[in-house]
């Protein structure tokens, strides 16, 4: 049976990541960065990837990685979600890395594992695993076309581009025009990629690589959503114990206590679903269903947590200064990322034979 707990090593990893993020990703700093020229926090990324070796968790040791697994990656993502850290971890160390693992490209895998190279899969963030995605044209052996909605592309050194011949190509970001899009999620911004005769190196077949990459992305996104929802719950509970109106702590009003208790219950459930998905990805057992169930459940919970945090903080929650909006924007964007809850429910319907009318 699936192991749904955290091991001692996983808890130690969590503590180390949390410490690091406390130093690098304080809320005022993250808010200020969103409107700077460098929305990604490359110093934090370097500390995570280079300093702690976390970019290579999914890559076997023989290929320069840590040879850990999805359970450990999930713990890292919980902490990154809790801090809404603007680092390309999910996109490079999980999604792009899974695509490269499917293609078996050792050279690029080694570079990604070291964290010195950042890659982005040039597929719109909204695409669910197993659904169609846009492809680049091939003319005279070079790539042409425009791909939009690529998360963290602005931080990437290498783009993994699916092309019309069914291949997945590695393209140097410097050979493409990457233009940031004004994005709902300020801490995982999207960019458009324009290719006009860009040289590409064929890595392998795009379909299985993209499918595997998006499936891992969807399944592990649930852990990021868990971290985000936990932050929203914890921070709101803390605030409502302090905040006084009508000569008493606001958190003592039963209407609010019940809402927070309901939210706690949702977070408890989300933890079990996210752990189940991470463990399934690690063992390879029943992965499709575990991922679809986790994503069908996670997105509404994360959005609900962020929305409750905003409403229960009331006025201060509407300000740019308070970090709640970063969490709300991330949660809402996450509810579309790698397929909506509805898309994943449709997948569940197929997998467990509960067919549509």
């Amino acid at each position: 049976m699936t192991d749904l707990l955290y091991s001692e090593e996983e808890e130690a990893l969590r503590a180390a990541v949390r410490d690091l993020l406390a130093d690098h990703c304080d809320a005022p700093g993250v808010i200020a960065r969103t409107e700077s020229d460098a929305p990604h926090d490359l110093a934090a990324w370097k500390a995570l990837a280079d300093g702690m070796g976390l970019a290579g968790l999914l890559v076997p040791e023989a290929q320069g990685g840590q040879g850990a697994g999805h359970r450990e990656v999930a713990v890292v993502l919980e902490e990154l979600g809790r801090a809404v850290a603007p680092v390309p971890y999910l996109t490079s160390a999980v999604v792009a890395t899974e695509a490269l693992l499917e293609c078996g490209d050792e050279e690029l895998l080694g570079r990604l594992a070291s964290g010195r190279t950042v890659a982005a899969l040039a597929v719109g963030l909204h695409r669910a695993p197993g659904t169609a995605f846009a492809v680049a044209r091939l003319e005279n052996g070079t790539l042409h076309g425009e791909l939009t909605g690529v998360a963290d592309a602005a931080a990437a050194d290498v783009l993994l581009v699916p092309a019309e011949d069914g291949g997945l190509y590695a393209v140097q970001a410097s050979d493409a025009t990457v233009t940031p899009q004004v994005s709902l999620d300020l801490t995982r911004p999207l960019a458009g990629v324009v290719l006009t005769g860009a040289p590409g190196r064929r890595l392998g077949d795009a379909d299985p690589a993209v499918r595997r990459a998006l499936r891992a992305g969807a399944g592990l996104l649930a852990s990021e959503q868990l971290g985000l929802a936990e932050w929203a719950l914890t921070e709101t509970v803390r605030y409502l114990k302090e905040r006084k109106q009508f000569n008493r702590p606001v958190g003592g009003f039963q209407a609010l206590k019940h809402r927070l208790a309901q939210l706690w219950l949702e977070v408890v459930n989300l933890r079990a679903a996210a752990r189940n998905a991470a463990d399934a990805l690690a063992t390879g057992e029943d992965v499709d269903l575990a991922v679809a169930v986790a994503q069908a459940y996670a997105a509404p919970v994360a959005v609900h947590a962020a929305e409750e945090a905003l409403q229960l903080h009331a006025g201060i929650g509407m300000t740019w200064e308070h970090p709640i909006h970063l969490y709300l924007k991330r949660a809402k964007a996450d509810s579309i990322a790698y397929g909506t809850a509805g898309a994943h429910r449709s997948e569940v319907a197929e997998l467990v034979d509960l067919q549509a009318p």
């Binding site: 309901q262 706690w264 219950l265 408890v268 933890r271 459940y297 319907a349 509960l354």
Partner: protein
């Protein structure tokens, strides 16, 4: 020396050899199992156990099941096993433990719980059933309600007010009540399902000897906490297969009856299917925490989650059945021994599951408990804390 799994297997094999299930009467086998310390291995020696870790019970159960041994039908005697026994173990005198635990465990004596009253539901500590000392006896008068199994029970755990002049929590005492006493009258209480699982119990000059008091006079509220906490532990320990709960019949109907499907029902069904699966993971995670010796607060939430799911799923099932959803299988007044969710139609499941958010603590009270004990939010105002029970508004 603590007993390990190998030793339990050895003792189980010994029991099976001395009392082969095929040729031993069920009560004899169960008594022998109790005396061998294999009834509940975490109980002390001489009281059906061996002082072993609770998690090792599964070792014994598996061996006995494989050998085709009879069990004590735990669902039928759930109140005795889950609530009366741990309380007697913790607070009982040596004589009480020796007298009550063995027939309780074998099922020869069924137990019920005389706690709730018409005027004391969520506010159980406000109960008004009086127990007055007369010589060596206590004379009890009052009315209890929602008493499952009262019509089958030989014994009851009872809390009654022994001192009305102190605040409500302080004046309660815990008793073991003989249900065959002439002053005990059990009346079926018919439910919205048509049947009567539970009862009203009227207590008129019931005489309980002081030797059947459990714990100190006035300490009954604390004793009752053991009973109520164990009720919640019992809810947490289960292990369900996929589609193992209320979702099973509706999923089956969906697959077998394509003509009933609509888009609206499909979306709602999938949402509930996913939530059932996730609740199953949460229950499994809770179980793994208990096995690992790290019990979490999640148990408080499981009852809330399953109550809502049972209600929403069975409600959907009634709707899915369309014209048949307008019918009901049987309104006949019956006295079932067990709640049987699967042997009845969707309409029954819908109506019976309404009780899931009321029995064993309403969902509203459980949300307060989560908010206060897990999240640490301020407690509800307690205006009755320092008021003598007799002066409370009622």
């Amino acid at each position: 020396m603590s007993v390990d799994a190998a030793e339990l297997r050895r003792r189980t094999a010994e029991l099976l050899k001395a009392h082969p299930p095929a040729t031993t009467d069920r009560p004899d086998f169960l008594r022998a199992r109790f005396d061998a310390g294999l009834a509940w291995v975490h109980y002390p020696e001489g009281l059906g156990g061996l002082g072993a870790p609770r998690t090792l019970q599964a070792v014994v159960d598996a061996e006995l099941e494989a050998a085709g041994a009879p069990d004590n039908d735990p669902r039928r005697i759930g109140i005795g096993l889950g609530m009366a026994a741990p309380t007697i173990l913790k607070y009982g005198t040596e004589e009480q433990k020796q007298r009550y635990l063995r027939p309780l465990w074998t099922g020869e004596e069924v137990w019920c719980q005389l706690f709730s009253e018409p005027g004391a539901g969520s506010d159980l500590a406000a109960l008004g059933t009086r127990a007055v000392r007369e010589g060596e006896d206590w004379v009890v008068n009052g009315q209890k309600v929602w008493t499952s199994s009262a019509h089958l029970a030989r014994w009851a755990i009872l809390i009654a007010r022994t001192d009305p002049d102190v605040p409500k929590h302080a004046g309660i005492t815990y008793f073991l009540c003989d249900m065959t006493d002439p002053g005990v009258e059990v009346r079926p209480l018919r439910q919205i399902t048509g049947e009567a699982e539970f009862n009203e119990v009227f207590l008129t000059d019931v005489r309980i000897p002081d030797s059947r008091r459990l714990g100190e006079v006035g300490d009954g509220w604390r004793v009752a906490q053991t009973t109520l906490n164990n009720e919640r532990v019992a809810i947490g320990g289960m292990r369900l297969p996929r589609e193992g709960g209320m979702i099973a019949p509706v999923a089956k109907t969906w697959r077998e009856r394509p003509e009933l499907r609509t888009h609206d029902l499909h979306q709602r069904l999938l949402k509930l299917w996913v939530e059932s699966e996730v609740a199953r993971f949460t229950a499994e995670r809770l179980r793994q925490q208990l096995v690992a010796g790290q019990p979490g607060p999640e148990g408080a939430g499981m009852k809330l989650a399953f109550a809502r799911l049972n209600q929403e799923i069975s409600g959907l099932e009634v709707e899915l059945r369309g014209e048949e959803g307008l019918l009901y299988d049987d309104w006949t007044m019956r006295r079932p021994e067990l709640v049987d969710f699967t042997g009845r139609d969707a309409g029954y499941r819908y109506l019976r599951s309404k009780g899931n958010s009321i029995e064993g603590g309403t969902s509203e009270v459980l949300l307060n408990i989560v908010a206060e004990r897990v999240l640490g939010l301020p407690a509800e105002p307690r205006t009755d804390k320092d008021v003598a029970w007799k002066d409370l508004a009622r």
